[in-house]
Structure formats: C-alpha cells, structure tokens
C-alpha cells in the first residue's frame, strides 16, 4: 500500500510546503507535465504525492483517501464535523498564518465586542423585522461562534470571494473572514470585533485516521515523519562548540541543565552542546565566562533522535499496539 501525501497545488502555501519538505531533504517531484496532479518524493519508494487545493486536502483526509496532508486549520475546523474522530493534527507548521475574525463597519462606533453585536442584532431585527446578514465562507465556524455568544438574530449569506466587499456592496451588514494583517478589512472600512477572533489558524501537518494504514504506509510515514521531525528539531536548535579544557563532567552537566541543552561530542578539551536556538548566544557567553577559550555557534541540518515526536503523535492515536 502506497502512502499518499496531499500537498497544496498552488500559491504561497505550496511554496512553503515544498520548502518545509525540502528542509528535511524531501524533494517533492511533480509528474512530467504541469497538468499532472500526482507526484513523488525523490528517492522514496511507496510514497505518492497528490496535488490538491487546500480545501480538497481536508476532504481527502477526512475521507481517508490521503494519509497525511498539509492544510490550514481554518479549513479543517470549518469542513470537518468531528475532527478528533477523523484527523490527527500532528504539528503546526509556522506558515500560512491567518485569523478568522468577525468584522463590522468602522462606523458602528457603538459596537466593540460580541455582546454589543448581539444587542445590535436584536435591535436591528426588532426595528426592521429582518435579520442582520453575515457574509462568510466559514458557515460552520460562524454558526458555532455566534451561538457561543448568544447571537441569534442573523442570517448567513454565503460568500465565495471578496467577502470584505459585501458590506459596501450592500449584500451583508457584517462579515466573518480570514485576515493576516487586517489591512484589507481597514481598506474596506471594516474593523475586527474585540473578542471576535474565532480562530488563529496556520498550516498544519495533518494525519487521517480513516486512511488505510497498512504496514507499508506506516513504514513510509515513519521514514518521512522522522526526517521532518529531524529537520524541525534542527531548525529550532543550534550547535554550540567550545574549546573548554576546564569543562569537567559536572560542569558540562550543570551547563546543559541550565540552558535546556544536551551535551555531546566531548574530548581533548572540546565540548559540544545542542541547545534551543534562542539561547545559543547566551550559552556561548556563559561558556566564555566559565573559562572556555573559543566558542563556535552553528546551525545544524538534521537532528535524528530515537524519540520521534511526529510519528509518536500519529502512532499513539492510531496504532495502540505499535
């Protein structure tokens, strides 16, 4: 059984996904023609790559037609009724960041929060006999969020593009939409409701519970996830190497604990640490203060460990006896 990985077929999300895999030494190879929607990972047998739109990826994963995929959390929460039963969110990927927000016209100077909005919706209906219209493509997220805030006097107008223009066009009074900087909303004379952030979304690596997890698929997933985890660990770490003759075992162990680092490769007065990236410079200075003569900080390519957090996340929820 082949492992099917679903990746976005266009745009920034595609570029970032390719980069994410490339960092782990996994080169996604597209089929011969540009119109070929199936590809592979260079040098890996038993893996097929499906190029799909981000929302198709959600559908394929939920149905179990793909094993692993990269897609936005917003789409997962919107389109999958029972996420925990169907999907495993393996890890957020740090790109494709965007918030799903409730936005109303700036001219509604009396509306700051969801309680205000509930009040205004009730007034509007009492006055006009019609419900306030909310333009969105996030029908389910909107419904759930409005229900949590007891907003009931509204109607959803489904919008499949340029949602932010709906109030100006007169097709809705407010919107629920995705935004990164809020600039598009501001340009359309809209503002975000203070407690109206429905979801802080980013691209996620997602596994499908309902896919056919044969031994072959499992092994391929383990191979890929261990590489992805290794490059992720590498990206978050720095190797700090010091000429440190005085660094006895006790001093090394204390230093490692102090900086959340692991000690490695020692001998003939040299000592190396793998430490969290933000602490690297601090560790270097600390070592100098402890008598080290020279400290080199360098980035690393991959850190393979016996403990593979990505595969563990998959295995612990999928293969109880693994």
């Amino acid at each position: 059984m082949t492992l099917v990985i679903a990746v976005p077929s266009k745009g920034r999300l595609q570029e970032n996904t390719y980069e994410y895999f490339a960092r782990a030494g996994l080169e996604i190879v597209q089929g011969r023609g540009v119109r070929d929607y199936r590809g592979s990972v260079a040098g890996l047998e038993g893996v097929e790559v499906a190029f799909l739109s981000a929302s198709e990826i959600v559908g394929q994963l939920a149905a179990g037609a793909a094993h692993i995929g990269v897609t936005g959390e917003d789409l997962v929460r919107e389109h999958v009724a029972d996420v925990d039963a169907k999907l495993i969110m393996l890890t957020p990927l740090g790109f494709g960041r965007a918030n799903v927000v409730v936005a109303a016209p700036q001219s509604w100077i009396d509306v700051r929060n969801m309680a205000d909005l509930e009040d205004v919706c009730a007034h509007y209906r009492a006055r006009r006999g019609a419900r306030m219209r909310v333009a969105t493509k996030y029908v389910n997220l909107t419904r759930r969020f409005f229900d949590e805030h007891a907003v009931t006097d509204y109607r959803i107008v489904e919008s499949l593009g340029a949602t932010e223009g709906a109030p100006a066009a007169g097709s809705a009074e407010l919107i629920v939409d995705i935004t990164t900087t809020g600039a598009t909303l501001t340009a359309n004379a809209l503002k975000i409701i203070e407690d109206g952030v429905i979801l802080r979304s980013e691209a996620n690596l997602v596994a499908a519970k309902r896919a056919d997890w044969s031994d072959g698929a499992r092994d391929a997933a383990r191979a890929i996830l261990s590489r992805l985890a290794a490059s992720e660990k590498a990206r978050r770490s720095r190797e700090v190497r010091a000429i440190w003759p005085e660094g006895n075992a006790q001093a090394v162990a204390e230093t490692a604990t102090k900086f959340g680092a692991t000690a490695e490769f020692s001998g003939s007065g040299a000592q190396a640490f793998l430490c969290p990236r933000p602490l690297a410079a601090e560790l270097a200075n600390y070592l100098l203060a402890q008598g080290a003569r020279r400290v080199v900080v360098q980035s690393v390519e991959q850190v393979f460990e016996t403990d593979n957090p990505l595969y563990n996340a998959l295995a612990s929820k999928m293969f109880a006896t693994d």
Partner: protein, 380 residues
C-alpha cells in the same frame, strides 16, 4: 462534505407507517384535507423563521442555479406556504410523511403526522380542538397514557410587555427562558461596552434624535470613517439614546424583577395557575387581562371536549424559542418514566403567515405526532 448519520434501518418503518395511517385517518375523518408539501424545499424560509441555529440540523443541497435547498425539516412551514399560495382564508389540513433532521449518530429520516388549522377566529375553541384531536389520534396510533404540558406565549409576552420591557428584550427573555437559562443570566448585560466608554457620546444624554444623529455623523466624518453597510448613523444614534436612557440594561427595577421571577415560578393545574396569574397581575399592576381571559376560556373548551384538564400541567416558562408562536403551546410525553421526548407537540402560530409574506397575521394552530417516538409495543 457528508454529515455523520446513523444507519438507516427499515425495521419498524412499516409499523410506524401503519400507526401513522391510523392517526392520519382520524384527522381526515374529522374533516382535515390531505396536504402533501414537496420534500425538497427552499432553505430560506426555515432559516428566516428559525435562525441560523437550524442550519446544522438541515440536510442541505443546491439547485441547478445554485439556490439553497433542503429536505423539509418539518411540515408547518411548507403547509403554511401552500396555504398562502392557495389564497384560501380558512382551511384545515392533515399530513403524513417523513421529515428530515441531521443528528449525529441518529437516523435522519423521521415519520410525522399532524394537522394545521388556518383562519379560525374563535381561537380558544380552535386551540382546544387541535390539542383534542392530536391526543385522540395519538391514542389511536397506540401512544398509551400521556402527560400533557401547556404554556401560553400570549400570557408570557403580555407579562414582559406589561413590565415595560421593549420588544427586543421581550424576545431575548423568551429565548433565554425557552433555552432554560436562569433569569439572572438572561438579564445580565455585563458584557456590553458601557455607555460612558463612548466618551464624548455621553453628551447625547440630553440630546434628541436629530441632535444625536448629527453628532454621530460629525464624529464619523472627523474620524474619517466612511459608512458602509445597511446600518445607518441614525440607527447608531438611536441606540446611543436608548442606552443613555436605560444604561443598556433591561431597565427592570427590583419590584419588576420580583414580579418576573414570581411569574416564571407559576406552574401546575391550569385553573390554579390562572388564579395565581390573576393575583400576580393585580398585585404587580400588570395589564394582561385579555390574555388571561383567553387562557381561561381555552381551559373551558378543553374541559368541554372531555379532556382531562385536571391532569394537565401549565408552566409559565414553557414557551418556544420561535417568534411566530404567539399563543397556546403544548406537548405530551409518555407517562413511561423512560420517555424523554414528547410524542406530540404543537401550538398557535398566528405570526407565521405574516412573516412568510402574507399581508397580515393569520390565525393558525397545529400539532405534530412524532411516530418514531411511539414505543415498540404500540407498533406491534
């Protein structure tokens, strides 16, 4: 994307149908005309009447031109639409067939039979007739002994209005009570942006509508904010004025709160409840006499029909979370302690026809029997 749905089994379907035929036959013998609305309906009326809340329970699909369609989730709205199309003033309908509700892990197709009566002006007699027929038909279907619960949206709305709460507060309270929320929670508006926070707008406290509107417009133009969307500066100004007057809360004083709490606690035997309601109206100075007369008159009609009114239980807080229910509401649950959901339910919905586009309110009352909730032994 597909919604999860339990397995559709045909076990018991024929038996349910047979039980339904018996109840439906009873309605027809009483002179109700068979009506068969389409299974596939436009989604808009259901969402307009019940709010987006129901969207999650609809089986949705789309027409060839993208129009939103759904499988009918109930009969009342489709039958009312057919009645309006017919142009008739007065009519009595009975139906039998499936309705469709999406529920996680449960069957989505449910059999219903029921009846709707439009246009009768003698509303108390019509109320009594519908509940009577529904109970008799349920008995014919094999429902066994039932506990009947009644409520009255007219009395409920009357009390809220008499307490001086504005229209949108009346709806908010009714919605909260129908959802079973405690009164303090319903009336708590703590989350609202306090009026004082609106800074300069506190100046509105002594302004009139025109002054307030001018101020809001000036503010918007000073800040360089363009108005988009359907809500005008005039509406914003009015809301500020109203907040200035009531400081955004319900405006209920301690005495009125007490009266409202006392009202919601009234329950039990319909006659005893009516006496308690009259006493409350008198002591709290609530002008709800007409609604109470109607309530008492209806009880009389129910008793005259031979129904066991003494065993009915009234609840002041028994209202539906739907605006178009304007009067009598009722439901009947099996006396079997395991029974949770009512076998039949219904009520008066004079507001529906108008909300669906009719020129004026049309007296209407109806009831539906949930055939799937009949016990297995009733079906055998």
């Amino acid at each position: 994307m597909g919604r999860p749905m339990g397995p559709i089994t045909s076990i018991g379907r024929e038996a349910r149908r047979a039980a339904g035929e018996r109840a439906f036959g009873y309605f027809r013998d009483a002179g109700f005309v068979h009506v068969e609305p389409a299974i596939l309906q436009s989604t808009a009326p259901f969402l307009d009447m019940s709010g987006e809340d129901v969207r999650g329970r609809l089986f949705l699909t789309a027409g060839p031109e993208g129009e939103e369609l759904c499988l009918r989730p109930d009969f009342t709205i489709p039958v009312c639409l057919l009645h309006l199309q017919s142009g008739a003033r007065e009519a009595r309908y009975a139906y039998l067939g499936p309705v469709f509700r999406a529920r996680a892990g449960a069957e989505g197709e449910l059999m219903q039979t029921g009846l709707e009566s439009f246009g009768r002006r003698d509303i108390e007699a019509a109320d009594a007739e519908i509940l009577g027929l529904a109970l008799e038909a349920a008995d014919a279907a094999g429902a066994g002994p039932l506990k009947v619960r009644i409520g009255d949206a007219r009395v409920f709305d009357g009390v809220i209005s008499a307490l001086g709460l504005p229209e949108y507060w009346r709806r908010r309270v009714r919605r909260g009570v129908a959802r079973g929320l405690p009164l303090e929670k319903v009336l708590d508006r703590g989350g609202l942006t306090p009026f004082s926070k609106a800074g300069v707008l506190a100046a509105l406290e002594r302004a009139d509508h025109d002054g307030a509107k001018a101020l809001v417009q000036d503010l918007l133009s000073i800040a360089g904010i363009s108005t988009v969307g359907g809500r005008s500066p005039s509406e914003i100004a009015d809301r500020f004025l109203e907040q200035a007057a009531s400081r955004g809360d319900s405006g209920l004083g301690a005495e009125q709160m007490h009266a409202l709490e006392r009202f919601l606690s009234i329950s039990g035997h319909p006659d005893a409840a009516a006496r308690a309601l009259r006493a409350l109206a008198k002591e709290a100075g609530l002008a709800i006499d007409k609604a109470l007369c109607s309530f008492e008159e209806r009880t009389g009609f129910l008793a005259a029909r031979g129904l066991a009114v003494d065993e009915f239980s009234y609840g002041a807080g028994f209202v539906r979370d739907l605006d178009y229910y304007t009067g009598f509401v009722f439901e009947a649950v099996s006396t079997d302690p395991a029974a949770l959901k009512p076998i039949l339910g219904g009520g008066r919905y004079d507001g529906l026809a108008h909300k669906l586009g009719a020129a004026q309110e049309t007296p209407a009352v109806g009831a539906a029997i949930w055939l799937d909730r009949l016990k297995a032994e009733a079906l055998s």
